[in-house]
Symmetry: C2
Subunit: 283 residues, 2 copies
C-alpha cells in the first residue's frame, strides 16, 4: 500500500463517499467515483469532489491504490468479494459502514484479507446524498478503524494515512467493541429520535422549541441506510435499548412518586456526562 496513494476509487458517492472524495482530492489524490445512481455521481463531479466518474464498478476499482466502500452496510457485504476480485493485489480496501463486526468478519474470509481494513468516520448528518457533501465533514472528527486479524501492518498504516488526509483522528478499536459502543452512542439515539417524532400529534408543532428540534433531527436520517444498521447490529442494539428503557422507567417512576431527590440525582448524573459529549463534539 503506497503511503501517498495517487489514485483512489470511491464506491458510493453519497454524503460520506463524496465528502471523503473531496477531502482526498484536495490532499492531492486523483479520485474516481462510482455510484449506481447516475445523478449522485454527476453531482459529485459537478461539485468538484471527484476527478472523474466511472461508468461501472470496475472502472473505479481496477487501477486504484485505495478502494473505499461508502455504501449502506448490506451493500458493502455484497460488494466485498467482487471488489477483492477486481482490485490490484496491493490496493488497500477500506469501508465506512456503521456496523463493523459483520464487515470485518467478511473481510477476513477474502482471498485478499490482508489488505482490507474496516473503518467508520463519526461524522455525517441527517442530510444525505452528494448534494450535502463537503470536504470538511471529517475535520477533527474521530474515524474509527477496525482491522481484522488478517489485516497487514501496511494496510493498517495505509488506512491511518487516509484518515489523517481527510483531517480526521484515527481511533483503533476492535469491531465487537465498536458495535457495542455505537449501539449506545448512535443506533439507540436514532431509535429514540424516530420514536419521539412518531409520538408527536399534528398540532404539536405549534409548541415545538429548539429542544424538540434537536431531539428529532436524527429522525430525518436516510431510512434505507438505517434499516441495514439496525438489523445488522440488532443484538447490541436490543440489549442497550432494554437497559435504556429500564433507566427511563425508573426515572418516570421517581417522577410519578414525587421522589424529586432521586430525579435530581439522575438529572445531575446525565448533565455531567452530557457535558463531556458537548465538549467532545463541537458544533
Amino acid at each position: 500500500v503506497p503511503l501517498t496513494p495517487q489514485r483512489i476509487g470511491i464506491v458510493g458517492v453519497g454524503l460520506i463517499g463524496a465528502s471523503l472524495a473531496g477531502a482526498l482530492r484536495r490532499s492531492g489524490s486523483y479520485v474516481v467515483g462510482f455510484d449506481s445512481s447516475t445523478p449522485a455521481a454527476s453531482t459529485a463531479l459537478e461539485k468538484g469532489l471527484v476527478d472523474e466518474t466511472a461508468g461501472d464498478l470496475s472502472g473505479a476499482v481496477q487501477n486504484a491504490d485505495v478502494v473505499i466502500l461508502a455504501v449502506p452496510v448490506l451493500a458493502i457485504l455484497g460488494l466485498l468479494p467482487v471488489v477483492d476480485a477486481l482490485a490490484r493485489p496491493d490496493a488497500l480496501i477500506l469501508d465506512t459502514g456503521s456496523v463493523k463486526r459483520p464487515i470485518v468478519e467478511a473481510m477476513q474470509t477474502l482471498p485478499g484479507a490482508c489488505r482490507a481494513v474496516g473503518g467508520h468516520p463519526l461524522a455525517g448528518s441527517e442530510r444525505s446524498g452528494s448534494g450535502a457533501a463537503n470536504s470538511d465533514l471529517f475535520r477533527g472528527r474521530p474515524f474509527i478503524l477496525t482491522a481484522s486479524v488478517a489485516s497487514s501492518p501496511a494496510a493498517k498504516e495505509g488506512a491511518r494515512e487516509i484518515v489523517r488526509r481527510v483531517g480526521a483522528r484515527p481511533v483503533t478499536m476492535d469491531a465487537e467493541r465498536h458495535d457495542r459502543v455505537l449501539a449506545r452512542t448512535s443506533h439507540l439515539p436514532q431509535l429514540l429520535a424516530s420514536s419521539l417524532a412518531a409520538s408527536l400529534e399534528l398540532g404539536d408543532v405549534d409548541a415545538a422549541g429548539p429542544g424538540l428540534r434537536d431531539m428529532t433531527r436524527l429522525a430525518g436520517s436516510d431510512v434505507a441506510i438505517w434499516n441495514d444498521i439496525l438489523m445488522l447490529n440488532r443484538g447490541h442494539l436490543v440489549n442497550e435499548a432494554h437497559r435504556f428503557i429500564a433507566r427511563l422507567q425508573e426515572m418516570v417512576t421517581a417522577v410519578d412518586q414525587g421522589e424529586m431527590g432521586q430525579v435530581e440525582e439522575m438529572m445531575r448524573n446525565g448533565a455531567s456526562r452530557a457535558a463531556l459529549v458537548q465538549e467532545a463534539v463541537p458544533v
Copy 2:
C-alpha cells in the same frame, strides 16, 4: 393595562427574564429587574438588558405597568399572592413558567385575578443565567398565552402586546392543553436526554458524533428549574412517557425479530413528523 407600557418590572433575570428585559427595553420601555441573586442582577445591568435593578421585590413591582415573573414554576406559585398585593391595581401580571395549569389556577384565586395572564415563551437553551441572555431570544418564536377564566380582555390584550414587542408570535391555548402538549414536546424530551446521557459509559465519548451531541444537549439544562417542571406536570408527563415507552418497545421488538418492513414504516412515520418540526423551528 396601558397598550404601550412605560415601566416593566421583571422578577428573575435569568436567561428568560433578562432576555425579555433586553427585548422590552429595546422596544422603548423602562425595565426594572429584580433577582434574589445579586450577581445575576448585576450581569443583566452590565449587559444593558435592564435600566435598573431593584434591591427588593417591591422595588420592581410597586410602580410597574407590567410585572413579569420569570422564576422557576414553584417560585412563581409562591410569589403570585405577594406580587398581587404589591402591584398597582391596573398593572398586568404575566408569568413565563413551563407548566401552566397550576399557575393559572392560582391566578384565578387572586384578588387581582382579572389582570393576571399565564405565559410561556417557547425559547430557551440548555444554557442558563443572565450571562446567556440576549434580546433576540424570542424573535419569531411562539409565546403561548394561557388566560384564566378571570383574565380581563384588557389583560389578555396587554399580554399579546408584550409578546409582540419581544418579537414573538402569540399562541393562545388553554392551560390544560398546554400542559398535555408540552409534556410531549418538551418535558418527555428532557427525560429522554437525561436518561440517554446517564446511560453513557465513560469511554463512549470517543465514539460521540453530532447525533449524540444533539440528543444529549438538553441534559445540560438547569436541574433546579426542571425538577419543578417535572413535578408540577407529572400527570401528563408520566402518561406521555408510558405511551413513548410502549412505542419504543414496539420498535425494538420489530428490530429484534427482523421485521424490517415494520421498522421502516415507523421510521418513515417519524421522518415525516420530524420534518415538520425542523421546518417550524429554524436553527
